[in-house]
Symmetry: C2
Subunit: 363 residues, 2 copies
DNA sequence: GACGTAACGCAACAGCGTTGCTTTATTCTG
DNA sequence: CAGAATAAAGCAACGCTGTTGCGTTACGTC
């Protein structure tokens, strides 16, 4: 393994930055990139030469815009790399193959047995991964796995809840690495989701929140372009955020938790009130971290997206009336059902070709 | 001005990293630093040479620990640099001079007239800054100013509220730069406070929240070592976080805002309930961003710190019973009344000698 | 007093982006 | 239609970063 000098980090960061611009899809010129990266066009030539040698970028013709030599254009080569993304729930396993731009090349879904023990689960996961490994072209970078509930990202362990749970404490990443012999990343579903969203639109979602409503309630953040995982990789568990201090008791022991209130409202068919709960959380979150985009995703949201988005938009408008300079855009995820699976694949892409978060420090 | 090449940024980042380690106070060896930065000891020699030439580091003797040449130790030179920090409220202006380690060299406080118009305010600020500029030794880096209410950090403008306000929209930074002819930074009080806390203990507070309770309620975040300012530099305004969706109406139009509930409880002498409101916010915040330290500060907190900290600690313990791996330390700011003024000074230090957040990008 | 050891320094090196200049490909002009 | 003007791209030398290899220094041990 190479010694990874700080100079490698400079080169790597620039490579990543060029890819981030190119990922938008439109061909880019040397000048565009030079401006975006803050380096000279000559440096861009060298950076592009590196990326082209690795097959990740390619020429895309040239345009003539007035006198002088025509501008050469370059584009990303989506099919040069790919990653597998898996989305695991208690009843289903969805899998996708995503290319370098984060677009889905192929997807498949299977049902899994309820309360499957770990060895069986492992078998299911590896089988799915192996099938997907045959799809698409380009270097296969690895496998990303997203799942609900507390997950230790750095340790690759599913932490689980205190309720009886066959998966609790399973060292999923280590086991998958052993079985598949390729890099594996394990992360919380809502964080995987926001990685997927930001991968395909990095500059748009520099400061964004993704609210995920599936069985539970999750909210993950992208702050200044990097995903928040937290000190114990526990960030995003907003299900038990208190919205009514004297509300209905929750299984967690407190009262008025968002998740409980949300489910209760939805249970009695009061979508409007459920949307209000969501809106409250979003507004609070906007005040705390000041994101300018809120992306909504998850099956429960898709089912009622008009009401949910409406409620959130009007709550934001009302709540931020005093601060007219704060403008927050609320949008629905474009990924649909693939959201978390794609996001998990993008975690692998991000890990390999994302902008580095730290400039100094070991490893 | 030099072209600031990416290599400068590497050097700058390493310089900053060495200072961050040295700031802890204890002398450090070449080997310690090499390990902390992930570079070779030889590189540390070069980095230290740069810093020593600028007077920021100095030798600190040597220790003999067995056979071989004794280890040379190095220490930071606190008096080599200094910055002025100002804390402005509606009635007071507090000022400090802080050295390179963020320690207070001198402080002074004056009362200011109520609803002072901008020109007069400017006069007060510059007079205070000029007096403080004469205190202490070392290169004076600039002036930091922290104040409550919405502040545009990047623009250096006080945004103010919709209530009649003579300071609203004042371009404070530009005016102070013109008057003082030195760098000026303007920031929200709670963010200034957390900059101050993290400056003196950078590794301890990599993921931390600072809850500030003065007149209003603020909560600023340090995520993976960098301060969250947000898309519109509006992060930290948690005063209107909803804790009781059907609580007492707040001036903002919603019901059950934390600030209103907190003030109401405190107003009727119910410190316990006020503490509960604070505890609710802290727990919600921990779930969202997963910080492992919570620092409390501000005059209102100091007055009731035992009850407040107790309530927060037990709320965290109860709320995180299901997630025993999440451990959050609650601590009181060690800065006391100087908190925001020191923090404002540290904003200047951080700006000049802090770890850069991005490796690529213009400027 | 010779030897092993550990920290340190010097010098050559590789690789990054930058700088200055040349080359190339287009449009405009006489 | 030829020549000047223009703009993009390439080539080569350079400055700077940290790295590598080896020699030097200062300590303890035998």
């Amino acid at each position: 393994m190479r010694p990874s000098t700080p100079l490698d980090r400079v080169a790597g960061a620039h490579d990543a930055a060029v890819l981030a611009v190119a990922r938008r899809g439109e061909p880019v010129s040397r000048t565009d990139l030079a401006e975006a990266l803050g380096v000279t066009p000559q440096a861009i030539s060298k950076i592009l030469a590196r990326l082209m040698e690795r097959g990740m970028m390619a020429g895309a013709g040239s345009i003539i815009s007035g006198p002088g030599k025509p501008t050469t254009l370059y584009r990303i080569v989506p099919s040069s790399r790919r990653a597998i993304g898996l989305h695991l729930t208690r009843t289903r396993l969805r899998g996708v193959v995503a290319d370098l731009t984060g677009e889905v090349v192929s997807h498949r879904e299977i049902e899994i047995g309820h309360r499957q023990p770990v060895p069986e689960l492992l078998e299911t996961l590896t089988a799915q991964a192996r099938e997907l490994a045959d799809v698409g072209s380009g270097t296969l970078l690895g496998v990303g796995l997203g799942m609900p509930g507390p997950v230790d990202f750095s340790g690759g362990v599913y932490r689980g809840t205190s309720a009886p749970d066959p998966w609790r404490g399973a060292e999923i990443r280590r086991m998958l690495v052993d079985a598949l012999a390729m890099p594996v990343l394990l992360d919380h579903d809502s964080r995987a989701a926001i990685v997927g969203e930001t991968w395909s639109q990095p500059d748009l979602l520099r400061n964004a929140a993704l609210v995920l409503v599936e069985d539970g309630l999750g909210a993950s953040l992208s702050i200044d372009g990097s995903i928040v995982r937290g000190a114990h990789s526990h960030a995003g568990e907003v299900g038990h955020t208190v919205v009514r201090m004297d509300g209905a008791p929750c299984e967690c022991g407190r009262r008025g938790c968002a998740q409980a209130e949300f489910a209760a409202s939805l249970g009695r068919g009061d979508v409007e009130d459920a949307a209000q709960v969501l809106a409250t959380i979003v507004l609070d979150l906007v005040r705390l971290v000041d994101v300018d985009r809120v992306v909504l995703g998850g099956s429960t949201v898709y089912a009622h997206h008009e009401q949910m988005m409406g409620a959130i938009r009007s709550a934001l408008e009302a709540g931020l009336r005093e601060e007219p300079w704060v403008h927050v855009e609320v949008m629905l995820s474009t990924r649909g059902t693939d959201l978390i699976a794609v996001g998990s694949a993008c975690e692998v892409l991000e890990h390999e070709y994302g902008l580095p978060t730290a400039l100094v420090g070991p490893e």
